[in-house]
């Protein structure tokens, strides 16, 4: 049975057989399909407006002599002055700089607040005994897959009644409510596996739950916190529906996704602005994503791999 000797295993891994060439070919084909649309947008965002409107983005590769590049789309999108050109007055309202700030103002607290509340709750469920613990836990986590559409109308009406509509606080609380079930679930899974003896000694020393939570559990749970933070940040930064419903009253509070939607609809012909705007909206989530990918993947695979 020489076929199964270690040497043959080695050979299968290193030799270029037709099968292995096929594997590489399929993957390269898929990678090209996956990356081309994004590449097209990236190239377009650096082309002058009239070029974007009249020729395909690939012409910068096929007819390199005629290719022109500019940063004007980004200048318009960020509301920066554009030199040597008469600025279309309509573009003055296009500036996305406010929308970027608004997206940050929505996404950061919408990420931190649920993490804090969920970590506290996860600790409570994992390490404090109290009656009804299991049912309360199932209630919170069971609501994970409820479509948030069922919540929109009652909450919107409440918000209008108490003046929370169109405020950041209203959006934070909404994102917190919709994100909490997943947050509690992920953080509980992690916090409940922290070895008990770590805090046994702290208890004996007379530390309170608050001290143990802030001094021991929070630092120890950093990977789980980072994992959920990545999820929630991407979700809140990229969200459209919650922003449309709770922020739409005032254009000065609109976030990036709302502005992009507006650009797509009303300025159908101003594609050069749309390209730059779309890229601006992607930079931050892509950075967060690739920096914290390790934690993000751990969160994705938590609980689904072990079964």
């Amino acid at each position: 049975m020489s076929r199964n000797s270690p040497a043959s295993v080695q050979r299968r891994k290193s030799h270029l057989t037709p099968g292995r060439i096929l594997v590489y070919a399929i993957l390269i084909f898929l990678v090209v399909i996956w990356i081309t649309p994004t590449l097209g947008l990236l190239v377009s965002s650096f082309r002058p407006a009239e070029d974007v409107r009249s020729t395909g983005w690939w012409t910068v590769f096929t007819q390199q002599s005629e290719a022109r590049f500019t940063l004007d789309n980004y200048r318009y999108a960020l509301g920066l002055p554009v030199q040597g050109q008469v600025v279309n007055p309509r573009y003055k309202t296009v500036g996305l700089q406010n929308a970027i700030l608004n997206s940050l103002a929505v996404a950061i607290p919408s990420t931190v607040i649920p993490i804090l509340i969920a970590a506290i709750a996860a600790y409570g469920f994992a390490w404090i005994r109290f009656p009804g613990r299991r049912w309360l836990f199932i209630l919170i986590v069971g609501l994970m897959s409820v479509p948030l559409q069922v919540s929109l109308i009652p909450i919107l009406r409440d918000y209008i009644k108490i003046g929370l509509n169109g405020t950041y606080l209203g959006v934070w609380l909404a994102h917190t409510g919709f994100g909490l079930p997943l947050a509690v679930y992920l953080l509980y899974n992690y916090i409940s596996t922290i070895p008990r003896d770590i805090f046994e000694s702290a208890f004996i020393d007379g530390a309170s739950h608050f001290t143990i939570f802030t001094r021991l559990i929070l630092p120890l749970s950093t990977p789980a916190l980072a994992s959920f933070a990545t999820f929630q940040f991407l979700w809140t930064w990229n969200d459209l529906l919650v922003a449309l419903v709770f922020l739409s009253a005032d254009s000065s509070t609109q976030v990036l996704t709302q502005r992009l939607l507006g650009l797509m609809g009303s300025f159908g012909q101003d594609w050069h602005l749309l390209t730059a705007g779309a890229f601006i909206s992607m930079i931050l989530p892509l950075t967060v994503f690739f920096l914290l990918q390790r934690y993000f993947v751990r969160g994705l695979t938590a609980g689904s791999v072990k079964e």
Binding site: L27, T55, L139, G142, V146, T301, V305
Partner: protein, 374 residues
């Protein structure tokens, strides 16, 4: 811990200020004061006309700092109570906020929406099942059911899962560096918003009449091959496939990452044993790998089904639900926000809840089994 019954040396040296009663009242006062200050700041921030960047920064500090402050004060406040009270109050401080928020934002609204769905547009008069008649018989809802189930659920989920599986399996057999690049590229769209993805794909689907320079990639390829350009997004029925393609582009990465981790967890000896028995790679995959990652396949599939049934952003930004691309969530949004028919919007929301209910129940049962050891 403050027991009071066993005085230690350290405690006896403390000032009377630190007795639980004084400390408790101080903390209670501080809590009330903080709530008042936070409330005033909220009103100020809401009505202020200051530079946008300052408001955004102040809002972040207010929201994050405020919630930390309140928890710290409350947690220390309950520590001042005698042990018997504390046993009941501590869980309340820890689990209470999460439970309250989830009940206020998810559980109660679901009930209120159910009630609302039996009332008219403004929620004033009881109309019985009229809104449900609309939700199950109107043209746009029937189109939505077809689109949500046939296109988004079947094609969208099906292709995402299968493609994710294919990439995960194939990439596992390539050079580690190549594997990492492939996975990063396929995974990248996960970080992009559905609106951003729609912008990207508008440049693929854009249509110009025949004879004019095509600026959309798909039509450029088609005309280069000698075909007639097509308005992909305006052709009823088939346009749904082009919207679903965006969804597949976004979701395949998620499926791939989970499958990839699961595949790498399958013991190598099992695979080798299969190969020794003469199984080819396809048989090894079907009879050894696949059964071993069944749990992951199930989790990924149900997760993507939930996203597919609730799909909204792509349709809203690409076609607005026109040309036969309507979906349930978009009908709900239109009824709620464009037509202000709260009754119908509520009924459609309940329909959306009903279609995801089987998966919710499945998840819940699976979940309550896992928490039996609680």
């Amino acid at each position: 811990m403050r027991n009071g019954t066993e005085p230690s040396l350290r405690r006896s040296r403390r000032l009377p200020m630190s007795s639980p009663l004084t400390k408790g009242s101080l903390l209670a006062l501080a809590t009330v004061f903080s709530v008042w200050v936070l409330g005033r700041t909220f009103l100020f921030l809401r009505d202020a006309t200051l530079p946008q960047w300052f408001l955004a920064l102040a809002a972040i500090v207010w929201g994050v700092g405020g919630s930390m402050l309140l928890f710290t004060l409350l947690a220390n406040f309950v520590e001042q109570f005698p042990p018997r009270w504390r046993r009941g109050l501590v869980p309340l401080v820890f689990v209470g906020p999460a439970a309250a928020i989830v009940v206020i934002y998810l559980a109660l609204p679901a009930l209120r929406t159910l009630i609302q769905s039996f009332y008219d547009a403004k929620g004033e008069n009881f109309v019985g099942l009229a809104n449900y008649v609309y939700a199950f018989t109107s043209q746009e809802m029937l189109v939505s059911f077809r689109n949500n189930f046939l296109f988004w659920l079947l094609f969208g989920t099906g292709f995402s899962v299968i493609l994710g599986l294919i990439v995960a399996v194939l990439a596992d057999r390539t050079h580690p560096v190549f594997e990492r690049i492939v996975k990063a590229v396929i995974f990248m769209p996960m970080a992009i918003s559905m609106v951003g993805a729609s912008v990207i794909w508008k440049f693929v689907y854009e249509y110009r009449p025949a004879g004019v320079n095509q600026i959309g990639l798909l039509n450029a390829v088609l005309t280069a091959l000698g075909g007639e350009p097509r308005a992909w997004l305006l052709t009823p029925f088939w346009n749904n496939l082009f919207l679903v393609a965006i969804f597949i582009w976004l979701q395949t990465g998620f499926a791939m990452v989970v499958f990839s981790a699961a595949i790498k967890a399958v013991p190598e000896e099992l695979l080798e044993a299969g190969r020794i028995d003469g199984a080819n790679e396809v048989q090894v995959f079907l009879h050894i790998t696949l059964p071993n990652i069944r749990g992951s396949v199930l989790t990924v599939t149900t997760t993507i089904i939930l996203v597919a049934l609730k799909i909204f952003d792509i349709v809203q930004s690409m076609t607005g639900g026109n040309y036969g691309t309507q979906v349930i969530a978009n009908v709900q949004y239109t009824q709620m926000f464009r037509l202000f028919n709260y009754g119908r919007a509520a009924a459609v929301a309940m329909v959306l809840l009903a279609v995801v209910l089987p998966i919710m129940i499945y998840n819940l049962r699976d979940f309550s089994k896992r928490t039996e050891a609680f």
